[in-house]
Symmetry: none
Subunit: 137 residues, 2 copies
DNA sequence: AGAAATTTGTCCGTATGTATC
DNA sequence: AGATACATACGGACAAATTTC
């Protein structure tokens, strides 16, 4: 089967239509979108393409998806800007060296170190927290 | 987007970075790597390229991937890459959760956590100290 | 309480078209 | 011309969370 992507890719077309339903209230705030399987039938697209379309809306903050439950239209009216992207799970900050770090790095206790923290989670479960310390440059 | 592969092919560069994360403990043994889709975003590479990178690590035995689940760093298998960094120190100990860790793990401040610390050095210079925290089981 | 069905999450293999080095 | 890379798309399979029976 050909996969020509002239003009608009299919997943964007699908995303546009779903966005229209949400903005028009056809899908009420908080309401569930059709399942991926239903959308697959409706748009006669593969599940991957449907999921890509939903991912677009998710990135826009228009919908939220819950494993095993479904995808629902954002509950509240959003007037937020395109400035999003909080939950990065990676944080940088400066810390002061505890006695052990100080000994390892050969600095004084309380000296400034650069710390990086990553949080690993599978689903909602926190697997581990990794903190990496380096000397400031 | 350009496709500059000056020195190394893209997939090798990505493979190197992922390998580094595993060897540094940033991705703990047995821990899940980011999904293909996440790596696609992070490295701004296509899925094919990301999969090629993972294939490299799989051939090296650094990771195993399970259908429908994800790709995880190989469990404890040290001697495989013994030539890499023989002089790294690893310590295990129990610690009490500081307020931030407590918040992340959803436990009380002072609760017991399992900590693992690795020190990376090149020659005599301390590169970094990596501390990994997990819930006791 | 427990099994089954539903639904989303992820990976696999493959394919086509486009673009760049 | 060939290798590398990107974007898109399909269909299948297994995994995991949730809901339903």
């Amino acid at each position: 089967m050909p996969t020509p992507h002239y003009g608009q890719p299919r997943y964007r077309v699908i995303a546009d239509q779903l966005r229209e339903r949400i903005e028009s209230g056809s899908i009420p705030p908080g309401g569930l979108l059709p399942t991926e399987s239903a959308l697959t039938s409706e748009f006669r697209a593969s599940r991957g393409t449907v999921r890509q379309a939903i991912a677009v809306l998710r990135d826009e903050g228009m919908v939220t998806t819950e494993h095993g439950r479904g995808t629902s239209a954002a509950p509240i009216r959003q007037e937020q800007k395109a400035k999003r992207k909080p939950d990065l799970e990676i944080r940088y900050h400066e810390v002061t060296a505890d006695p052990e770090l100080a000994a390892i790095f050969g600095v004084e206790v309380g000296a400034t170190l650069i710390a990086q923290q990553r949080v690993y989670r599978t689903g909602g479960f926190i697997e581990s927290v990794v903190r990496t310390y380096r000397l400031p440059r």
